[in-house]
């Protein structure tokens, strides 16, 4: 019996368990500090919808052995570009939304391919280089947002006319386009953004299906044992590039889903640190640097967003000060450090 418990604990992992318990305790304490549980759940569902696709985008690269995608920002940039172009073309509603996605996909494929070429040449050191490539790309885009010739009055600075604003609202274009789709209202405080959840489910299904194809199977093999894959005639570099492109494309779609729910397109330095919460979330869900399953995405996003939702409200009411930011930093970065210090899966 004890051995069985130990085994389960081992699979779940101590930090994960602690955080899950922490989250649970927050929910339990909530009513006692005047925080409505149903509003919290509502927030949680919305935030899940916003972030899940970004977390999903990490899966292909982990499966192929490229590790945690610290360069997620590249996909995000593709998505941002797609969004502002779509707005520039004054396209609204679903047309605008899907145009944004289409343009982003094209850009993401290009960026992903370049990124993949880079990663293939530095096998083994991907993570730290990816982090800085991501940072550089965001800073580079800061310059670009200033000088690219966008004209739409909804997007550029009011006085002075040159350069995009830091935050651009999606209202009037495709704000909540998915959220409101088939929205279900449960009671007065919970309004489920069905469209977004369905869209995530669709994307998750596509990814799941991909890993059941010949190419997807090859990708899993490459991540499991690249020498084995090579001995079977697989072009390891090509498969890795494919995984990077996939991840980048999904990240681009992910940021657009995020924008439609959040209501704003955030440029300049906003995407700078975007890779870390997503990575922390998937690790929280049970993934490691080399292994991941689809349900890790769901569990991880729920846990992580749960912490983000509950800590400000509950803890702040509890000890009357805003510790949420600090706690978030500790948990998300701590989770990543934990994952990095696990023993590498020994093949032989």
């Amino acid at each position: 019996m004890l051995v069985k418990i130990q085994r389960i604990l081992g699979t779940i992992g101590l930090p994960r368990l602690l955080i899950a318990l922490f989250l649970l305790s927050l929910f339990v304490i909530a009513p006692f500090v005047n925080v409505r549980v149903d509003t919290s759940i509502n927030d949680l569902i919305i935030r899940f919808g916003m972030n899940a696709v970004l977390v999903l985008s990490l899966v292909p690269m982990i499966k192929s052995g490229c590790g945690l995608n610290f360069g997620l920002q590249l996909g995000v940039i593709a998505g941002l570009l797609g969004s502002v172009i779509s707005l520039e073309l004054k396209l609204r509603g679903f047309v605008g939304f899907f145009t944004a996605i289409s343009i982003s996909i094209v850009l993401a494929v290009i960026l992903g391919w370049l990124y993949g070429q880079l990663l293939n040449r530095i096998k083994g050191d991907e993570m730290v280089v990816a982090t800085y490539v991501g940072f550089s790309a965001v800073s580079f885009m800061c310059i670009m947002w200033l000088i690219l010739p966008f004209k739409s009055p909804d997007m550029i600075w009011a006085y002075g006319g040159q350069g995009l604003r830091t935050t651009i609202s999606t209202e009037g274009y495709w704000y909540h386009i998915l959220d409101d789709f088939l929205r279900i209202n449960l009671g007065s405080h919970i309004a489920v953004p069905t469209g977004t959840i369905l869209f995530f489910a669709l994307l998750a299904l596509i990814m799941w299906a991909f890993f059941r194809t010949k190419a997807g199977t090859a990708m899993e093999a490459v991540g499991s044992n690249p020498d084995y894959a090579r001995s079977c005639g697989i072009n390891v570099n090509r498969v890795r590039t494919q995984s990077v492109i996939l991840s980048t494309v999904f990240a681009a779609i992910g940021i657009i889903v995020y924008e439609q729910s959040f209501g704003f397109i955030q440029l300049y330095n906003a995407p700078l640190m975007m890779s870390f919460p997503a990575i922390a979330a998937i690790l929280l869900g049970g993934a490691s640097v080399t292994k991941v399953k689809m349900w890790h995405v769901v569990v991880g996003t729920i846990l992580f967003q749960g912490i983000l939702t509950m800590t400000p409200s509950v803890i702040n009411n509890l000890i009357e000060s805003d510790m949420s930011e600090t706690i978030r930093i500790i948990i998300s970065n701590g989770m990543i450090i934990y994952a990095l210090t696990r023993k590498m899966k020994v093949r032989t």
Partner: protein, 536 residues
């Protein structure tokens, strides 16, 4: 009389998980004596040396029984540092050197000469300053003892291989306490001239009173340099000889000598083959540890062709080279068509399949189920077990067909497992090997390369594997090229056996040839007897 012996190993026995590797080995070494240790693969040489040198793997796998009496005291070395302190040095086959450091730095590695300074009082001995002039002269001393032309200030990475070897040896003898030096194939990677220098060094050291345990397979070296020759076979000491009183033939006989048992010779008739299916011409393969230096041979359709030889001589490199797993040069022709080298895909498409000796490293996906492992190559290369959807645009994995295939092979090869979904890492070594075989068979190859097919497998499974190979050969006409360290295995099912020595084919013999002939080829004597063409 124990004082005259520097080292006495009494009744040393060792087994790895029930597999007897050494049985009652008794070895005595006098101070300054040069003892040559000869034996086939798996005879127990490395294990014996590891026991003496206190290697961790020995202790992690149950230790050993018997006594070691070194320098008059009974000792039990639990780590290499123990052995070093007692006065035993070892030069391994893989160099333990820092390429970016000079010869001096490497010779004095972690035994640097230092001077105290102010901070030593506060922070401890590691803050001592290095005394470079003293270190350099110490290194020079060691170099002079060896009487070689080694520049103490040269970086190891700029040195030719021979000089790296000298640096290693210099490091071991610089320790003032060294009384016994173990050398594991010291001349394996050296040129002829460099090898001569090393042999001279050995003689000089022996004159200075340092005893040497010398593992080698090069016949000439053994006869030239050793005072005593110890032949190990199947974990036991076969014979102890003096070079003056023996010759190459005798040594080979003791090393390899088991005559074919009647049972095998009655079953196996000589077969005739006519069509050449595989032609290898001047193949060079850069496989670390198993370099191939230009081999040429032909394989007939339908035969079972064996490749044998001692470890590290290159036999494993041949199959790996043809299958494109290691950088190669040369020409390989299959059914008259040239095969593109360095491309696993081309090899697989040409009808070749490979069961690698590195089962766990490249042969299997350990964290995936059996079914995947068996079907994967076939799925990727031949696009079987795939359902084509949307007019071929989507290639959907047919899990059912894969499961069925796996179940078939589980039955055919008696793979012990829970079901086809069990993860391969949970299977025993023998069953993992069967999965590798199944993977290759599933490809329906015309030519099957199998390396070390029964390594690490228990006796019962061994027979099954060999029988299966023979069955596939006879029933389906699959040409098999089998590489193995076990001569007996090769002699039991092969039509012809090539022996690889120093990366080249030393000779090709029929399985019925006397065992000693094989032994001689392994030891490098290629002019064995008529009927066998060899390198002049």
């Amino acid at each position: 009389m124990s004082e005259t012996y520097l080292l006495r190993m009494e009744n040393i026995s060792k087994d790895f998980y029930g597999n007897k590797v050494l049985e009652n080995v008794n070895l005595n070494v006098k101070p300054g004596e040069i003892v040559g240790l000869v034996g086939e693969n798996g005879a127990g040489k490395s294990t014996l040396m590891n026991i003496l040198f206190g290697s961790e793997t020995i202790h992690e796998t149950g230790g050993f029984s018997g006594k070691i009496i070194f320098d008059g005291q009974e000792r039990m070395f639990t780590s290499s540092f123990d052995a070093l302190e007692a006065g035993i040095g070892m030069v391994h086959q893989e160099f333990v050197l820092i390429p970016g450091f000079t010869a001096t730095e490497n010779i004095m590695l972690n035994r640097e000469i230092t001077r105290k300074n102010l901070l030593t009082e506060v922070f401890g001995e590691r803050m001592n300053t290095l005394d470079w002039p003293k270190m350099r002269s110490r290194a020079l001393q060691a170099i002079e003892t060896l009487e070689v032309n080694l520049n103490p200030d040269m970086l190891v990475k700029d040195m030719p291989v021979g000089h790296r070897q000298f640096t290693e040896i210099a490091r071991e003898i610089d320790r003032e306490t060294t009384k016994l030096l173990i050398l594991d194939e010291p001349t394996a990677v050296l040129t002829e001239t460099e090898a001569k220098v090393v042999l001279n060094i050995i003689k000089k050291l022996s004159q200075k009173g340092i005893a040497i345990l010398f593992i080698t397979h090069r016949l000439q070296e053994i006869l030239d340099v050793c005072d005593t020759i110890v032949v190990l076979r199947d974990g036991k000491i076969q014979k102890i000889l003096k070079p003056m009183e023996t010759n190459a033939q005798e040594i080979a006989q003791y090393m390899v000598g088991r005559e074919l048992s009647e049972q095998k010779s009655s079953v196996w008739e000589e077969r005739e083959f006519h069509e050449v299916i595989l032609q290898v011409n001047d193949l060079w393969v850069d496989m670390p540890g198993e370099r191939v230096n230009g081999v040429s041979f032909e394989v007939y359709k339908g035969e079972i062709f064996g490749i044998g030889g001692l470890t590290g001589q290159g036999k494993l490199g041949i199959a790996n080279g043809v299958m494109g797993l290691y950088p190669s040069e040369g020409q390989v022709t299959i059914r008259g068509q040239a095969l593109k080298l360095n491309s696993p895909k081309d090899a697989l498409n040409a009808g070749l399949a490979f069961v690698s000796e590195d089962r766990r490293g490249i042969g299997l996906l350990l964290d995936q189920p059996l079914s995947w492992n068996i079907a994967f190559t076939t799925m990727q290369v031949k696009e079987q077990f795939i359902k084509k959807l949307l007019g071929g645009l989507i290639k959907w994995r047919d899990d059912e067909a894969i499961a069925k295939l796996a179940r078939d092979y589980i039955k055919k090869l008696s793979i012990k497992c829970v079901d086809e979904n069990q993860l391969v890492c949970e299977l025993s070594g023998g069953n993992q090997q069967k999965v590798c075989l199944a993977k290759a068979f599933a490809m329906n190859p015309e030519i099957l390369f199998v390396s070390e097919p029964t390594r690490g497998i228990d006796v019962g499974a061994k027979k099954l594997v060999l029988d299966t190979l023979r069955q596939y050969n006879e029933e389906y006409g699959v040409t098999i090229v089998m590489t193995s360290s076990e001569l007996e295995e090769l002699r039991s099912i092969c039509d012809r056996i090539a022996i690889v020595n120093e990366g080249r084919i030393a000779g090709i013999l029929p399985p019925t040839a006397p065992a000693a002939d094989f032994g001689l080829l392994m030891l490098g004597k290629t002019d064995v007897k008529e009927g066998v063409e060899s390198a002049s």
